[in-house]
């Protein structure tokens, strides 16, 4: 049943209070998600546990695993909005994905072994899907998992873009378990402990200087038969189901656009451009208002999409439209901000505006991660051409 407006308002206040009193103090930087010190890591893991305890994460899980029977997707939207608004660390996408797969495809034993450790913050999970030769074209993975007579599998191959791989305890790996003509067949998904012998994780620094990504080498890594997630040979459907999880959270993401616009206004109000306050110049006003209109359109579409999806009337392709709108508007706002800041002079005394300028630069450098990862903008357009507009097969 849809919660009443009063209930949602009270929920929002409670979430705000939890974030204000328990979230790690330092502001979240866009594109800098992984901890950079042992102390920061302890604090983050503790915050993850708090989020599960307080219903900011995992509330939609079955009650036997700690979920809340009263949970509604609108709660998820509010949590995401409030975390973004407070610039507090958000639950890790990779952990959400792993939990979603364990809940949907995991055996009772796998669920009992792994889910409580996610809730306690003891286990961070990473995703071992992409490879140097298989990014957007994920069905091209070549990592192999050779079945052995004793029921174990030996994994060999190289993975890349392993977000959080350097501090994760567990990984979900996609590998080829048989040779089939069809590229999407013969794939399987495995649960892999990241400290297993044969795993090597090497850092890949991102464009903004952060160490969030890694390359992961799987060199004769042995996993047991109980590491298979879902049905052997049906890994493609497992992976696809995983990518569809957390679809309601996207509604909160548009709150990020509002934060960017707030920062942009603050900077433009302090920035000196051509001898004037930038926000007083007509071209700057027009450009900012146009970006804000784009953000408003993205929000309007996403709100409608999420409400339809919650009501079970999701239209095919709407999620791809929402992704394009959010990520490309984010890119446009942050890119304009960087250009504007580079064209003017920020007053030395304007500490708030300089902090805002720093956040906008982080966002600008991070923005390409949004339009490339999780299905690039180009893949989204291919999907929409085929499934929404029903255009003939691409040439």
């Amino acid at each position: 049943m849809t919660p009443s407006e009063e209930e949602l308002a009270a929920f929002r206040l409670r979430i705000r209070d939890v974030i204000a009193t328990k979230a790690p103090g330092a502001g979240e930087r866009e594109g800098h998600r992984a901890p950079t010190s042992a102390e920061q890591e302890r604090s983050l893991r503790s915050w993850y546990a708090t989020m599960y305890d307080e219903g900011l994460a995992g509330a939609g899980w079955p009650t036997e695993w700690g979920g809340n029977a009263e949970h509604h997707p609108l709660h998820e939207v509010i949590v995401n909005e409030e975390l973004i608004r407070a610039r507090a660390p958000r639950p890790l996408d990779q952990v959400n994905l792993a939990a979603g797969l364990l809940l949907r495809f995991g055996t009772a034993e796998q669920q009992a072994r792994y889910l409580p450790r996610i809730r306690s913050g003891d286990d961070v999970w990473c995703q071992l899907f992409s490879e140097p030769g298989a990014g957007s074209d994920l069905a091209g993975v070549t990592t192999r998992a050779e079945p052995q007579r004793d029921g174990t599998f030996i994994l060999r191959g190289q993975k890349t873009w392993t977000t959080d791989g350097h501090w994760a305890q567990m990984g979900v790996a996609l590998a080829r378990t048989s040779t089939e003509e069809r590229r999407h067949a013969g794939l399987s998904v495995f649960v892999v402990p990241m400290d297993a012998p044969g795993i090597e994780v090497r850092p890949l620094r991102t464009i903004g200087g952060a160490w969030d990504f890694n390359e992961t080498f799987l060199d004769d890594v042995v996993v047991g038969p109980d590491a298979v997630l879902g049905v052997l040979g049906h890994g493609w459907s497992v992976v696809m189901a995983g990518l569809e999880t957390e679809r309601f959270g996207v509604a909160g993401n548009v709150a990020l656009l509002r934060l960017l616009l707030e920062d942009l206004l603050e900077v433009a109000d302090e920035l000196e451009l051509d001898g004037h306050r930038a926000l007083g110049l007509a071209d700057v006003q027009q450009a900012i208002a146009d970006l804000a209109a784009r953000a408003e359109a993205a929000r309007a579409f996403t709100d409608g999409h999420v409400l339809s999806a919650m009501a079970g009337h999701e239209i095919e392709g709407d999620a791809s439209i929402a992704k394009i709108l959010h990520t490309e508007t984010y890119q446009a706002i942050s890119s304009y901000a960087e250009h504007l800041i580079g064209s003017g002079d920020l007053s030395a005394t304007a500490l708030g505006a300089r902090a805002a300028a720093g956040r906008l630069r982080d966002a600008w450098l991070w923005s390409r991660a949004l339009t490339i990862s999780g299905g690039s903008s180009e893949i989204m357009r291919n999907i929409l051409a085929k499934r929404r507009l029903r255009l003939p097969t691409t040439r």
């Binding site: 509002r258 616009l261 707030e262 206004l265 006003q285 027009q286 900012i288 208002a289 146009d290 804000a292 209109a293 784009r294 408003e296 359109a297 993205a298 309007a300 579409f301 709100d303 409608g304 439209i321 394009i324 709108l325 180009e378 357009r381 291919n382 929409l384 051409a385 929404r388 507009l389 255009l391 003939p392 097969t393 691409t394 040439r395």
Partner: protein, 330 residues
């Protein structure tokens, strides 16, 4: 909020009413002109949500109707005129009203300069004009004489899909309208016009997609080329998001929400230039046929370009949007 069943009913009614052969009086007979006028003055109530759905469909059908402008004019009349007969005549279609921005040069204080000329959209020679200036700081309800209004031919005006009239302001009576009192009506008129624009873009997109699927070149349907597909997708994404913003702006007005004015300005900022760019690009994608008078795309281009500034410029909307953002803190 318009629920799903009511939504379906409205759309199917609109399609039946707007399809060929279209009778320009039909929207009046169905009560659409009364959708912004309170029931106690003879209207259907304050229903910008329902009106915007019907206006979207009016654009989708490229219907030769200016009922949205007539609806706004009737609502203004009902608000400011003590003369119930005027409102009743506007709602019944006996008199026809329209609404338009009037350039500063045609104003003399809060009056319109006699002899001043402007072009307006109207199904037939208009009897009443609601005029306002670019910043909606001056609003006037002006009676017009039919002998001072003349139709404008296709080649003299951008608009070709709806009636366009050259109007000469005369000494007929008019009343000054307090802008603050009718601002929600002017905003509703803007949303309806933007809804018409979004519907028109949807029609243009459907037309070109069907053409590109049908037409073959280099041994394949043109619509199978990825370079063209991505552009079609981009305009579909624009049209879908603009449609969503129309719904939100209209609902916000319906609920008399404090944020409504900002959303209306955001909507117009978002659609006015992009909708023209969308159909312009669709003409390019259609190839040479899109460049001919016979092919309907240019009429759709003209329609959205006319809508873009009929009730105020995009620049003014962006200024209003930014002012509202600064006032609320973002």
């Amino acid at each position: 909020m318009v629920d799903d069943d009511a939504h379906e009913l409205l759309i199917s009614t609109a399609r039946a009413c707007l399809s060929d052969p279209f009778d320009a009086l039909e929207p009046t007979r169905l009560g659409w002109v009364g959708l912004l006028t309170p029931p106690e003055r003879g209207g259907e109530g304050w229903l910008p949500g329902e009106a915007s759905l019907l206006s979207l469909e009016t654009g989708r059908q490229n219907a030769a109707s200016t009922w949205t402008l007539a609806a706004a004019a009737a609502a203004v009349a009902s608000h400011v005129s003590a003369d119930d007969a005027l409102t009743a005549s506007l709602l019944s279609g006996e008199l026809l009203g329209t609404i338009s921005v009037v350039p500063d040069r045609l104003w003399d204080g809060d009056r319109l300069e006699p002899g001043g000329q402007l072009q307006v959209l109207s199904d037939r020679s208009p009897d009443v004009l609601v005029a306002f200036d670019h910043n909606a700081e001056r609003v006037r309800l002006q009676r017009l004489s039919s002998d001072h209004c003349s139709p404008v031919g296709d080649l003299d005006v951008l608009e070709t899909t709806r009636g366009a009239f050259a109007v000469r302001v005369d000494e007929n009576p008019g009343v000054v309208v307090e802008p603050a009192e009718v601002r929600p009506i002017l905003d509703a008129a803007r949303v309806l016009l933007d809804a018409d624009t979004v519907g028109t873009v949807g029609a243009a997109l459907s037309l070109v997609i069907a053409h590109l699927i049908e037409r073959e070149a280099f041994g394949a349907p043109l619509a199978s080329f990825q370079a063209l597909q991505h552009r079609l997708v981009d305009w579909m994404v624009f049209e879908r998001s603009a449609d969503a913003l129309v719904t939100q702006a209209a609902e916000s007005l319906a609920q008399r929400d404090d944020d409504a004015e900002r959303l209306v300005a955001a909507l117009h900022s978002f659609v006015e230039e992009r909708s023209v760019a969308a159909i312009d690009d669709l003409i390019q994608l259609a190839g040479a046929i899109g460049f001919t008078w016979e092919y309907p795309l240019h009429h759709l281009l003209r329609r959205v370009a006319t809508n873009a500034s009929l009730l105020g410029t995009g620049r003014a909307s962006r200024r209003r949007h930014l002012d509202a953002m600064v006032r609320r803190g973002s």
